[in-house]
Symmetry: C2
Amino acid sequence: MQSFIEEETKYQVIPFTWPKGYKSDGVHAGLRKNPEKKDMGWLYSEVPAQAAGTYTTNQFQAAPTKLTKQTINQDHQLQAMVMNTAVANSVTGEQGMIDALKMQALAAEKLGLPNEMVGVASTGLIGELLPMPTIAKGIEQLQLLDNGYVTEAVLTTDKHAKTITTQVEISGKTVTITGFCKGSGMIHPKMATMLGFVVTDAKIADGQLQTMLSQEVDSTFNQITVDGDTSTNDMVVTMANGLAGNEPIESDGGIDSQNFLEAYHAVLEELAQDIAADGEGSTKLVEVNVEGAATHTDAQKVAKAIVGSNLVKSAIFGEDANWGRIIAAIGQTNATVDVDHTSVWLNDLPLVKNSHSADFDEAEMKASLGNDKITILVDLNSGTATGQAWGCDLTYNYVRINATYRS
Amino acid sequence: MQSFIEEETKYQVIPFTWPKGYKSDGVHAGLRKNPEKKDMGWLYSEVPAQAAGTYTTNQFQAAPTKLTKQTINQDHQLQAMVMNTAVANSVTGEQGMIDALKMQALAAEKLGLPNEMVGVASTGLIGELLPMPTIAKGIEQLQLLDNGYVTEAVLTTDKHAKTITTQVEISGKTVTITGFCKGSGMIHPKMATMLGFVVTDAKIADGQLQTMLSQEVDSTFNQITVDGDTSTNDMVVTMANGLAGNEPIESDGGIDSQNFLEAYHAVLEELAQDIAADGEGSTKLVEVNVEGAATHTDAQKVAKAIVGSNLVKSAIFGEDANWGRIIAAIGQTNATVDVDHTSVWLNDLPLVKNSHSADFDEAEMKASLGNDKITILVDLNSGTATGQAWGCDLTYNYVRINATYRS
């Protein structure tokens, strides 16, 4: 019944490294009090890279998010990204946009680039202005190095940096794809914010990177939830500088694009899972796989409803095989569901069979719920489409983190 | 700025009483272990009453909910409702419907009514069959009395019974409206379930009660949330037996219908607020009033997004004036929002003015957040429409109740 079988893949996951032609750095500029913590970073490509982005749908979109979207949408080209943590520069009015433009200009000046080749990203407190002297000081300190410090410089309450590198052969050349992100946690938790960056040395056919990113984000980043709250600062930005020397990859379904997208998807999925697993206060990663759906959209919707349910999340924290909550979460969606023949497995153990209790062994199920990763498989018996989503449990610590921020 | 001013009302709230011609009872049949706890009840009208209902949209609709909907939809007439707590008779397949029909038939037989004049309602565990001998024993015990025991017999983990009675003059006659409900909590918490019952002796013009109920439920019960999870058993049923002797009330906006709807709305709103205030683990009732909206739908949507945000709910539990979360919750909706001129008040204190911090006094705000009721007022600066919603804070106890059910 477990149909999410690992298939042979063409790509390899390798230890963290930057693709050809990328330099970066991360420093402590002084935005955060702890001098051990990096709070500013940048990422630079030696040549102009094709760029694409996806951005929060929150109507109160932060100034840096707006600016980066405008910058990328001009001609889908970037050569650098500069970023900070601690202050989100969100809900900061006109001054917020002036500050984001200034941050962009300072980085561009130091790198000898036109402003429109530099994107900016901020995460942290909503409603506070960027302390521009500190930002300027940080940019002064940043160098073009081979280290991975920038992956630390975007973190807030994340427990660890989230990175992944994959490599894949494309037209006889080795293409490297590296991604990093920050998840849902903050120094002063004001909002769950998410930033993701994926860079590659692949050569992508003109104008195709945005299509690839948008498609893959839908089944990865857009399928995670920690608490149902959408940040004002979320963005995923991707750059492809072509230095791998491969033939340009078209998003046309050919073998090159299949192999590249497989490796690219693996990067996005790993980062998405890392964010879910490191959700505020979480103790367990929850993965939901849905099959037997009428459409992929239905499958995605059902998977996300289950990982988004506070009742399911609390039950998983309590290691309680409370299947009525999973069934109720499925039924809340408008997906096509065979309500008399829906089945559910938890860590491969049958939990619900044809909409009745599967008479599972309580002790075995309880033991299985002790795992750090909980996999829920749902068969809707309504078609052949599949979908996935990731989340985490709801814990005392989630409430504590978000209730006691000023204390 | 506080525009939700109390206007003079035509109705009066009076101590709990049944309207003319209603009898009821509640007993301990044995569904719950504690012999002190009532677990079955009924409600009876001496004459056939016009009836209307609204039902859960969860696709896994429980058997009693389905049966009551079918029964009412035949000719919008009922003369009795029989109900139980502890077992929800939900996700119980064909046997579940057989049991619901049997429960209906047993009550009808004892009352000397046709089956189609009796509705049934169940709440409690999902996935377990009703123990029919115990149900039969309960129906044997039930009498036609003037007590209010039925309002206790539907409770699960509710801290107290939720009732309200209003009276209003209609065409020279006193009309009484009494409502009761159960909220979100369970003996063995499997699902937040909600049942509401409103009975009146008013004479309502033929076929108009369903219109009135559907309209009022939209702005009351449908505007509360405890945890975003929709139960399989939710229903609100209303009966009007006409024994007050008033001229039939049309839902046409005339003065009689205005006065009746005002009193009727007050009953539904009070019950909805009671459910929110007594949400699982809650320590505070949260009321959100939205004004300056382009449409009523927008206002309702924004109000519900705020009371539904885990981050807002955690901040209120922590008594933290964390306005970035309120702004972010507003921005997550697709409502028309003036993102540069949105303002927020908390318990009448300015919190956000034109999308900037209102530079509030921290000590004063903190003291205000100590209240049991938190009122958030939002001005979207996009029109003249208003809306309201109610919820509660997210607490350690919510997680505990829903994580440790089997321990």
